[in-house]
């Protein structure tokens, strides 16, 4: 059976989305206090990692 090639960019984008989702979940559960001052850098970092991954693929 022929296996599809792994798209590294999509994997990184998925992991970044999971990490952001985990942060939002922890905030919702009250474990952390996720203010805009922390959320904005987190979103920017996720976008940056995905862009670098796409550019280097």
């Amino acid at each position: 059976m022929r296996r599809g090639r792994v798209d590294r960019t999509l994997v990184v984008a998925g992991l970044a989305t999971i990490a952001l989702g985990a942060l939002l979940l922890l905030d919702r559960l009250g474990s952390i206090d996720l203010r805009f001052d922390y959320l904005a850098p987190a979103v920017l970092a996720a976008i940056g990692i995905v862009l670098i991954s796409a550019g280097l693929s």
Binding site: T9, L10, A13, D37, Y38, A40, P41, A42, L44, A45, I47, G48, I49, V50, L51, I52, S53, A54, G55, L56, S57
Partner: protein, 391 residues
């Protein structure tokens, strides 16, 4: 009288960055998309109304070809700009976090210039990582590489200037810089027509030089192949089978040359030289002793050297008598030397008639056109040695 219907506006996602709206309008108006994009960015800077207009145009104007979603196209571009944008985002994220934690040196006057400089630095860094292999393949850096490196340098310098301006460090220099800039702009306006004429003149001269070199290359090839074969056909006119074989081989060779393909089995310099020697030996029935030391892949310059060596072998076969001809090759990655020696009657190089193209065009001229050089050592009565070198 009927008039043609005006062309409808269609988005051009294949040549666009987002939805292809600017590229579509540029194609409709018949101008460079860059001009429309500059206008769009100016409209965004003036009031931001261009963004909703772009979105409406994206939705309402149909595309001229099937398109993938913009996000997918963005992520599947293997682009230096993506790395630079990503580095800018990461730097902004880190600095915003430091600002939230009240780290002493991070404030708005420091943050955004550093983000711009980091983006430019990433552009330059990425280009410096990708350039060497391209340089190895091509004599000049691709225009895109130069443009990106220039954009990166401009971003770094821009970031530094914004930082200095935001911290009032440029105030003392302003009184000097503004008059100098004004004078430079005035001088540029005055000198622009001469500069444009100079650039056009250089481009015309370069085009003429390229045409002349291509013509010389074609002439040398025709001399080495068709004219030599015709001379052999005349010599072997009493043997119809050999004449037919010569014609067939010449036809194959010409077709391969027109299709820009090399015969199979000639992937290296040594194999191509051995094949050329075998061919000349078969045509002229004079033994050729081939000695090769080292080898390298056959590229355009090596192929020119093989053609020049072949011409030297043909000359030796025609004029040097039945004595064996020696072909000695020494090849490394950096340098190739080929020596073709015969024990024939020799000749005076200075007295070769100007209408004889063999030595002048097919050997010396060809080697010079490909960045090498050829030297003919010959003394009447003592044989001839042709030395071919590429470095």
């Amino acid at each position: 009288m009927s008039s043609a219907a005006p062309l409808a506006v269609r988005r051009d996602p294949q040549h666009g960055y987002l939805g292809g709206v600017c590229a579509g309008f540029a194609a409709r108006v018949g101008i460079d998309p860059l001009l429309i994009r500059i206008g769009f960015i100016a409209a965004v800077a003036l009031g931001g109304v261009a963004i909703p207009l772009y979105a409406i145009a994206w939705v309402l104007i149909p595309s001229d070809s099937p398109e993938r979603p913009a996000f997918q196209r963005l992520l599947t571009r293997q682009d230096t700009w993506l790395v630079a944008a990503g580095m800018g985002c990461l730097t902004a994220a880190g600095l915003l976090l430091l600002r939230t934690w009240d780290v002493w040196f991070v404030n708005d006057r420091f943050l955004w210039p550093l983000v711009i400089a980091a983006t430019g630095g990433a552009l330059i860094w990425r280009q410096s990582q990708t350039a060497p292999e391209r340089v190895a393949q091509r004599a000049r850096l691709p225009r895109q590489t130069v443009n990106r490196a220039t954009a990166g340098a401009a971003l770094v310098v821009g970031g530094a200037l914004i930082f200095l301006y935001a911290n009032d460090a440029l105030a003392p220099a302003r009184d000097v810089v503004v008059p100098v800039l004004v004078i430079l702009v005035a001088v540029a306006i005055i000198l622009a027509p001469w500069w444009i004429r100079l650039v056009r003149g250089l481009a015309d001269e370069r085009a003429a030089r390229i045409r002349s070199q291509e013509r010389a290359e074609v002439a040398a090839h025709l001399h080495d192949s068709v004219l030599q074969t015709l001379a052999l056909v005349q010599k072997r006119a009493d043997d119809p089978r050999e004449v037919a074989a010569l014609a067939r081989r010449q036809e194959r060779e010409l077709r391969a040359w027109l299709n820009n393909s090399r015969p199979s089995g000639e992937e290296t310099l040594a194999s191509a030289l051995e094949a050329a020697a075998a061919e000349v030996e078969g045509d002229h029935h004079v033994p050729i002793e081939v000695v090769t030391v080292g080898d390298r892949p056959l590229d355009d310059r090596s192929a020119a050297l093989v053609a020049a060596a072949r011409e030297a072998l043909v000359n030796a076969s025609k004029f040097a008598g039945p004595e064996p001809i020696s072909l000695y090759v020494e090849a490394t990655e950096e340098r190739v030397e080929v020596f073709v020696r015969d024990r024939g009657p020799g000749f005076d190089v200075e007295e070769v008639p100007t209408d004889r193209r063999g030595v002048r065009d097919s050997i010396v001229g060809r080697m010079e056109r490909h960045g090498g050089h050829a030297t003919v050592h010959s003394t009447p009565g003592y044989g001839t040695e042709v030395e071919l070198v590429i470095e």
